[in-house]
Symmetry: C2
Subunit: 332 residues, 2 copies
């Protein structure tokens, strides 16, 4: 199947699979199939982000279906919009595909993108397909924010802020390990870990809620709690202290991996939960009003810019063991 026919097939799948009611779709003037997409702008602030999944680096085709791959490729970019507190609107997909890729598989990849996109009214507006010796999927997502003051940034953390996270951590890394080593876990834990790793759910509503409640600083957890907290601290020229006994480790990760689940939560990455900081007052309000789990795990400190210090509940320094700590070193 030639490139042009493939693009037409993908355009048809997108056309049929995406709800016509989406406000973003109604503002589209030109969708897939012209030199560029065009839409009537409605945003005060436009947001844009790109992320990429590369075969044999971020995924292997024996561990993921094409549908899951499409879902995840969109999820990782939507998660960046979530971390800004924004509303995702459009996605542009740049695919690299080996010559022997089946058209059915690419169609399934697109269906995975559409499946997640439909949850948030996100519309595929264009893309590109290139020959390549390995598969890659680069997703650029465009979104909006209502104003400059309603954006969550990495640089807005202040000494004295509490540090909090949405949801639970460690499940994605646990899911990857389980799949890689073909570990026979119980059916519920197994399903839950697979889902966490292959179909992460970007915290779009949560990000918008945090921005509305007065939170200013956030990042999504893609590289790992410590690495991403370190990014946030560097951008804010501050440090952080985390109480490891307060970290909300995902129950299925704990069930499957016991004590090793702490390291998965600290540095496994790919959980796509939101990590944010705010004053005690704002955090208390968020905790009271939020319809999703929020856990305070530490605080922003004035010294040691970019450094993340780990302590246990008695305040004793915690020394992480094992591997997987390259993020820690890089960020510090």
């Amino acid at each position: 199947m030639g490139e042009f026919r493939l693009v037409e097939l993908l355009a048809r799948i997108a056309e049929e699979g995406q709800g016509k009611q989406s406000a973003h779709r109604q503002r589209l003037v030109i969708g897939i199939g012209d030199d560029a997409a065009a839409w009537r702008s409605d945003a005060l602030i436009t947001l844009a982000t790109v992320d990429c999944l590369v075969q044999d680096v971020h995924f292997t085709l024996d561990m993921t279906t094409w549908n899951e791959l499409g879902w995840k490729a969109l999820a990782i970019s939507l998660s960046d919009i979530a971390a800004m507190g924004g509303v995702p609107q459009y996605v542009i997909v740049s695919l690299g595909l080996p010559g022997d890729t089946e058209a059915d598989d690419v169609a399934d990849l697109y269906r995975g993108i559409i499946k997640l996109g439909n949850r948030f009214g996100v519309v595929i507006i264009g893309g590109n397909v290139s020959d390549a010796t390995i598969a890659f999927i680069s997703t650029t997502v465009l979104g909006s924010a209502t104003g400059q003051d309603n954006i969550l940034t990495r640089s807005a953390a202040r000494a004295g802020d509490r540090i909090a996270v949405t949801g639970n951590l460690g499940a994605a890394a646990a899911g990857m390990k389980m799949l890689k080593q073909k570990m026979p876990l119980g059916p519920e834990d197994s399903a839950s870990l697979r889902q966490a790793f292959l179909r992460p759910c970007p915290r779009i509503a949560e990000g918008q809620f945090l921005a509305e409640q007065g939170v200013n600083a956030a990042i999504d957890i893609s590289d790992g709690l410590i690495a991403d907290l370190s990014h946030l601290c560097r951008a804010s020229r501050a440090g952080a202290r985390i109480d490891i006994d307060r970290i909300p480790i995902h129950p299925a990760a704990k069930n499957g991996f016991g004590d090793r689940s702490l390291e998965m939560a600290l540095s496994g990455g790919e959980d796509y939960e939101l990590l944010f900081t705010a004053s005690t007052g704002v955090i208390d309000r968020v905790k009271t009003r939020a319809s999703f789990p929020v856990t305070v795990i530490g605080e922003v400190v004035a010294d040691k810019t970019g450094m993340v210090t780990l302590v246990d509940r008695e305040g004793r320094p915690y020394k992480p063991a094992g591997t997987g700590w390259q993020h820690f070193a890089m960020g510090s």
Copy 2:
């Protein structure tokens, strides 16, 4: 050099290399370094497009410098904005890089992007760097148009329209062949063909001018004159007849390749000139007012949707010889 340090290096190069005076830059609220870029929207219509260059498919590192590669990666996406008659504003870069890539080379790639971007005030607002076994560069460009009626589309060609092109054709394909076969051409032709292949200049001002003058249908020549005309015809549900004796073949291609330059102009691709159609009246006005070369090469016909017919100056059917005609077959 780790990914984070590399991203910081690239952010610094972009910060230093890009003019602070750009109106697009002044509207930026968040640039490189946060989860997403953010800017104050000013457009009535927003345009977006993505294109990708893949190692050993679209380029080889023995034929191009990293700087040229960066230039071209941006040029091919800018050309899509040109083909809409739009104003390019921002670019987001998704890179795949083998682990042994030198930081200096990536910096040079970015300098190539910036060099071309600065010509049009286009600002790099974000990106992503992934490990990969091959290098790839995916560029998403965002732009604006003043209104829905000022967009050049592929679907607006009408039977009876004249078909015209900007500039000359065939130089990019000639340049590729010259470099591949290390052909010893004269210094002027050689420089001109290398430039055409490795540093194409997107026809931004030309596209805007055409839209202002009442042209409605356009596409940029990336796949080749026949292939791209076929795309335009399919989108417009029309056919096309081209007089091969009127095709403006690039003089350096003619000098270097003689009669073979016609096929390069017809199906070589990558010239990034604009192919457009309009009524005779509009075309005459364009030809009178344009400060760039415009050549009428044929007309849009009502029958044979998507088909491109070639004739010589006596109206006899022209049968292309040789290879390189897969585009023709695909588009028909």
